[in-house]
């Protein structure tokens, strides 16, 4: 892993910030028990470690329950319009690359109305952190199915079941050339905090899909995988350079059979740890990362953690470089510019 040492906006002097420094004076208005609280708490907990002064942080969101997030952060914030947060974030980051810019979006905001911007902010590799709160439902509009709702999902707007197949946010991110792609979940607070920190330290676009429980309109969406009793069996924690092992007894693993992953048990049928797939998040080629996104419950444990982390030049750096080159060739003065081309004088 080649994470850069300098995070955009971070200070060289220790700031000794606390979690509480990042809590704004606004009352948090999510439903009691909503998974968003946990994500807010973890972001506020991670920020002090990054040593970024509050004035250099900007949280930009779209519209949705999740997008209320910026109001609760004692930093700069912009609650924009539905689906468009990546565009506003682009302007902010390009205008001032020394800011640490975060995009907060939902499954509807980021993948339905904002699907286009989502793709483009990824492919440009803008150095922003995109946190997508995936509750597989439209929360704010009170419970319609979303682009990540499962096929057949019954909601107010799909009383006979949704007839749309869900989109996989990680696949979209990978297909859009995102340089950092990860997944975490609201209830696994330690993992969530660690993943947020990894994303923040990544230079370039960093995308985290965060499984989030909407206890009002889609309660228990992730229960089958996230419940304490089943978590170890139903989640696969990805670790760079390590074999893919999971299970309460740490005896199950993922092996590649041709080009297909399969679940195997260590010690059965002669399977050893050496047969297991080794996770390589830094592989230039996104094939492995993509393969992992295709592992769905209940046939597979759901992979959690960093799927992909590679280094590419960022959009704002490339733009700044072009401006630098052009300016070095001669920062024209205005008078020269206005007087350029063929001119004539009338006496």
């Amino acid at each position: 892993m080649t994470e850069p040492l300098k995070i955009a906006g971070a200070s060289d002097m220790p700031l000794n910030l606390q979690r509480t420094d990042f809590i704004s004076d606004q009352e948090v208005r999510w439903c009691p028990g909503c998974g968003d609280y946990s994500i807010l708490f973890q972001v506020q907990s991670v920020l002090p470690k990054l040593n970024i002064p509050r004035e250099n942080l900007v949280f930009v969101s779209g519209i949705g329950c999740s997008s209320r997030f910026p109001y609760y952060m004692n930093t700069y914030g912009f609650h924009t319009i539905h689906g468009r947060a990546p565009t506003i974030a682009t302007g902010i980051k390009v205008a001032n690359p020394d800011l640490s810019v975060w995009v907060i979006t939902g499954d509807g905001d980021g993948l339905s109305i904002g699907g286009n911007h989502f793709i483009h902010v990824m492919r440009r590799n803008l150095d922003v952190n995109v946190l997508l709160f995936n509750n597989r439902i439209y929360g704010l509009t009170k419970g319609q199915y979303s682009p990540t709702s499962e096929f057949g999902k019954k909601t107010k707007s799909s009383p006979m079941g949704s007839i749309e197949r869900p989109i996989n946010p990680l696949c979209v991110a990978i297909a859009s050339e995102a340089t950092f792609v990860a997944r975490s979940i609201d209830v696994d607070t330690k993992h969530l905090a660690a993943t947020i920190e990894r994303a923040a330290r990544h230079k370039g676009v960093a995308f985290i899909e965060i499984y989030q429980n909407c206890n009002i309109f889609n309660d228990g969406a992730y229960k089958p995988i996230s419940d304490k009793e089943v978590r170890a069996d139903n989640m696969l924690y990805l670790e760079h350079g390590k074999p893919m092992i999971f299970g309460k007894d740490r005896n199950k693993g993922i092996r590649l059979n041709g080009i297909k992953p399969e679940v195997v048990t260590i010690g059965e049928n002669g399977v050893t740890v050496d047969d297991l797939l080794i996770h390589d998040e830094s592989a230039e080629d996104p094939t492995l990362a993509y393969l992992l996104t295709q592992m769905n419950f209940p046939n597979f444990p759901v992979p959690m953690g960093v799927f992909r982390s590679v280094s590419k030049p960022t959009f704002e750096d490339l733009m700044a470089q072009q401006i630098e080159v052009a300016t070095a060739r001669g920062r024209c003065n205005l008078e020269e510019l206005l007087n350029s081309g063929d001119t004539w004088v009338v006496e």
Partner: protein, 617 residues
């Protein structure tokens, strides 16, 4: 105001004219825009006043020789002050039958008609829908027809050159240009210089173009196809240094200049669209001014990024045409709510929907005023001519940063692509733009206001102690916190309206051209200035008591407008739509106006306006 002298046959060898209008027309692959531009550049350098009207085909490459593939470029050049490209050409150059067919109806009776007779083949005549050859069937008897085998003569001129046939043929537009230069006694040097610049790296192509141009000139000069040559003297323009400029060029320069004046970097977000793309191209070249140009994935992203850049302390600029403005509407509302300095350029084209992409219209005025949800006031300005684009761009930025508000800048396809001489301003003539970035955290409230302008502070991320949150939800007065309080909402809606209204105290009064009272006042806005001003001048010359007032500031209207309107017996509002400014003026001033409209994708002709006004007198 075309000269009729050109139309009578005279015995003199060289004759002086005040103004001439020429139209170059050919297939879209024939290089007519380039030919017209070269003629214009030379005229400008010789000190003529000029005004141009390019007419692009809708398709990039319609089938060769077809009617939809015809491309035209009209230039009016003059020894007196002119403001329009001329109603009817005195000279038409038609490079093929289709070009003749499309453009002949506009040619002045008795005008000079130069055609490339090589292209009048049976196949081409058929493509243009001719059943007989107009060059031989006497149907052109009313014009001074000069048929020249331009293609053959071009090949002849290049016979000994080792170039492909295609490359040779591509020079034929310069043969035509040479002929027209000879007719008007113009030097070839400026075009030679351009050839050198353009083709310097390809010496044989440069040589071929030079030779063809010269061959065309010599042919016209020595064969006596023209018994008379014409001369148009220098115009008596105000002293100063000039350059030729199109509206889109002036727009780009204006915004770069405004950003420099304001001392803030310029951010331009745009998605390509005719006729606004050239602004993106121009600004993308000006990176040495620190301009950050961003080709977004769509118009929403383009304005979203401009809003983000404005939040972060840049001049946020986004440019498009009508369909793109539709996409931006919601984001403009966000900029109104968050009170950020964003300028939205709309280079208007024919609508609705995709409409007439390459044609001009002024039908987006009400969209700029009202095309959003909620009470959503913005400032609106509209340049009146190609060179005025520069001034109004500076004004748009001045208003945006002074009042912390989105500003609409309504250009149109006609002035965007049209060109005229521009007197290059001294930097000292330009207005000061002094945005203040808030630094002091003591007592900072994001929605606190300046007493005079009602602007809120510009507090950009990165400034310690000013951390705050903004967004599209209604804001509480002063604190900027989210507020659903009914009384606060009512207050804020009125406050946002009042802020825009107060701009009237910071813009110039409207001025009447002609007497300050009389029988008829013609009110116009934006790109129709040239035609309206020329028409009312003509009417005054004929003894009518007609004046005109032209609005470049539309929201808010200049303070004195109501007063001006009431001094005339009748008020007519002339615009390229079905009466949008008219509706606003009636509503605001209760004046019983008459609406003069045209929605043909073309600018007003002076003669049309003269006739429409006379009917009201």
């Amino acid at each position: 105001m075309s000269s009729t002298a050109i139309l009578g046959n005279t015995e003199e060898r060289v004759q002086e004219l005040t103004s001439v209008t020429i139209r170059f027309a050919g297939d879209s692959g024939d290089g007519m825009q380039l030919t017209g531009t070269q003629f214009t550049n030379t005229a400008a350098l010789l000190g003529n006043d000029i005004s141009t009207l390019p007419d692009f085909p809708a398709e990039i490459r319609a089938p060769q020789g077809s009617l939809p593939g015809v491309s035209g470029f009209q230039v009016n050049f003059s020894s007196v002050d002119i403001r329009t490209p001329g109603d009817e050409p005195d000279v038409l150059v038609a490079m093929n039958p289709a070009a003749l067919k499309v453009n002949l109806p506009d040619l002045h009776e008795g005008g000079i008609l130069i055609v490339n007779e090589n292209e009048f083949t049976k196949a081409n005549l058929e493509k243009a829908g001719y059943t007989s050859n107009p060059l031989t069937d006497d149907s052109l008897a009313g014009y001074r027809l000069i048929a020249i085998p331009i293609t053959d003569l071009t090949y002849n001129a290049l016979a000994d050159m080792n170039l492909t046939k295609r490359n040779k043929e591509r020079c034929k537009n310069f043969f035509a240009l040479g002929i027209v230069f000879a007719l008007f006694d113009r030097p070839l040097e400026p075009t030679y210089r351009w050839i050198e610049q353009k083709f310097g790296a390809k010496p044989d192509i440069a040589e071929a173009n030079r030779r063809t141009l010269k061959a065309g000139f010599d042919y016209a000069d020595t064969t006596e196809i023209f018994t008379t040559h014409y001369r148009v003297r220098k115009a008596n323009l105000p002293p100063g240094k000039y350059r030729k400029i199109t509206g889109n060029e002036a727009t780009a320069l204006g915004f770069v200049t405004a950003a420099e004046l304001a001392g803030r970097p310029l951010f331009y977000g745009s998605y390509p669209i005719t006729p606004a793309s050239d602004i993106l191209h121009e600004l993308s070249r000006l990176k040495n001014f620190g301009v950050k140009s961003f080709q977004a994935e769509d118009e929403i992203a383009a304005i979203g990024a401009a809003i983000g850049a404005a939040f972060a302390g840049h001049i946020g600029l986004t440019g498009t045409s009508g369909p793109g403005v539709c996409l931006k509407s919601e984001a403009i509302g966000l900029a109104v709510m968050t009170e950020l300095p964003v300028v939205i350029i709309n280079v208007q084209r024919g609508g609705p929907s995709t409409g007439l992409p390459t044609k001009t219209e002024q039908a987006d005025l009400l969209q700029a005023f009202y095309g959003r949800n909620g009470e959503c006031p913005v400032a609106v300005v509209a340049p009146s001519s190609p060179s005025d684009c520069f001034k109004m761009a500076v004004e748009a930025v001045r208003l945006a940063v002074t009042f912390m508000t989105p500003v609409f800048y309504l250009s149109d396809g006609y002035i965007a692509n049209g060109a005229e001489p521009w007197r290059i301003p001294q930097l000292s003539e330009l207005p000061a733009i002094r945005p203040v970035l808030r630094q002091d955290p003591t007592g900072f409230l994001p929605y606190e206001r300046d007493e005079q302008t009602l602007a809120r502070p510009w507090a950009v991320p990165g400034t310690p102690g000013l951390e705050h949150r903004i967004g599209g939800l209604e804001k509480q007065h002063r604190t900027g916190n989210v507020s659903y309080d009914p009384a606060n909402h009512d207050f804020m809606v009125r406050l946002r309206a009042e802020k825009i209204a107060r701009i009237a105290n910071f813009i110039p009064d409207a001025t009447v051209e002609g007497d300050p009272e009389g029988d008829l006042l013609v009110v116009g806005w934006g790109g129709t200035y040239g035609a309206i001003a020329t028409a009312t001048e003509e009417l005054r010359r004929q003894g009518y008591r007609v004046s005109n007032v032209h609005l470049r500031y539309l929201s808010p209207f200049p303070r004195n407008l109501g007063d001006l309107l009431r001094r005339f017996k009748r008020v007519a509002v002339a615009e390229l739509n079905l009466g949008q400014l008219d509706l606003l003026i009636r509503g605001k001033f209760l004046v019983d106006t008459v609406s003069i409209n045209k929605v043909a994708g073309k600018p007003f002709k002076v003669s049309e306006l003269v006739a429409r006004c006379k009917a009201l007198l």
